[in-house]
């Protein structure tokens, strides 16, 4: 999988495998991506252009950087495992005015949180999600599934054979990620000492002596 090629200095016309000038490969990449409606995997480019995938990925990378340097109104990005053209985020205002139905569906806090749990813990059962969120996740899962961001990716081998949830390619596209490996490490999100302390305080078991009057209800059972 590694790139075995030696990155050529751009002095003369560099050629890659099978003697195709790199400039021609770059042109072909531009043409193919312009015609594509989904991210194009380097493996597919490799197959179509009969070059090692590593070469094509390197060329794509360089092309993407050059667009950025030239301050194009579009960019070439790696999303959901492939390369694609998209409008530059700087141009959001102008494109929004142009695109019909420019409003994008926004995700609710509950949806984002559930998505986060599924993304990091997949494959995960409904019950496990419920346990983490403290609420029944069925409605949110249904919404996320109907939008295509999560789906059943496996079944629990245990007795219940519960469906296990995972994220989809559309999830990666929605967040603009290339792969799940691009998710930030979960360790970075563990609450700090101050939060832990506050929670411990809030959940003190010993009742506060000064406010014994809150229990103006009779004992639980007669």
């Amino acid at each position: 999988m590694e790139n075995q090629e030696i990155e050529q200095l751009q002095t003369s016309e560099p050629e890659s495998a099978a003697g195709v000038p790199e400039a021609d490969l770059v042109r072909a990449i531009e043409a193919i991506l312009m015609a594509a409606t989904e991210p194009v995997e380097p493996a597919l480019l490799a197959q179509l252009l009969e070059q090692p995938a590593a070469t094509l990925n390197r060329l794509c990378q360089r092309l993407a950087t050059s667009y950025e340097e030239e301050q194009r109104g579009f960019q070439m990005v790696r999303v959901a495992g492939g390369w694609r053209y998209q409008t530059h985020p700087d141009m959001v205002a102008q494109v929004e005015r142009f695109v019909l139905d420019g409003q994008r569906a926004r995700l609710s806090g509950a949806a984002l949180e559930t998505l986060a749990i599924v993304a990091y813990k997949q494959p995960i059962s409904r019950a496990q999600i419920a346990s983490i969120r403290g609420v029944d996740p069925d409605g949110v899962l249904r919404t996320l599934q109907s939008r295509g961001y999560v789906d059943h990716i496996a079944r629990d081998p245990g007795p219940g054979q519960a469906a296990l949830w995972g994220t989809t390619v559309r999830f990666l596209e929605k967040l603009g990620l290339d792969s799940l490996a691009d998710l930030p490490p979960l360790a970075g999100f563990v609450p700090g000492a101050d939060v832990v302390e506050a929670l411990e305080q809030g959940l003190r078991v010993v009742p506060v002596i000064e406010t014994p009057m809150d229990n103006d209800r009779p004992p639980a059972t007669a």
Partner: protein, 257 residues
Amino acid sequence: MSYEVTTPVFEGPFDLLLHLILSEQVDIHEVSLARIVDAFLVELGRMENVDLDVATEFLLIASTLVELKARRLLPGREDMDLDEELALWEERDLLLARLLECKTFKDVGQVFARYSTLADSSWPRAAGPEEPFASMLPDLMDGMTPAKLLRAAERGLTPKVVPKVELYYVAAVRVSVADALEELFDELPRVGRITFRRLTDGLVDRLEVVVRFLALLEMYKQGYVELEQAERFGDIEVIWLGAEVGASGVSIDDYEG
């Protein structure tokens, strides 16, 4: 409908607890039920539409809080033995661990929100290949017939159950906790013991269900009923404890609006 934005939207009991503990540093013991009820109704007003999930989640928030309050009251009792006390500590640690985990993913969710906002500010190339390439594309409608299309239309037009109530609809429902209390004081002594599900069987509107639950919480707080929930998300059992005091003795504000 214009409400001051005073509280965030609570996504669940953990969410509410985290909010209460972290944002306001309020001791659970001092959390007043009335305050939560108020906060909830404000939330309800702020929501553009109310769906079943929200209502259900709220019921769970409330029952979790009730459980917590009940727990908190336990150590004060004389008959508390060491085993029970240890069990309580265990429960507390478990709850703490779950709150921490919940908080972790809550923070991740915010990062996801940033990612998706950025991703939403770009539009992917979608034009596809121009002619003559376009007509070379394998046609997605190959093999399609009018009859197949009709069946797809029937499938597609059969409404999915997506509960959604517009705000004006909610506003039109005139229910108050006081009214619900009156009904419950009439009904509960006759049945004695009933599940919450059955108690709300005849109610069509979700807001009515919620209001009825709020009324039950008030009755619980004042010692008229016991609430039991055998398992998380399980049925809530309502047990009438008898009344030396009548409905007139209950003081409750009308929580509407």
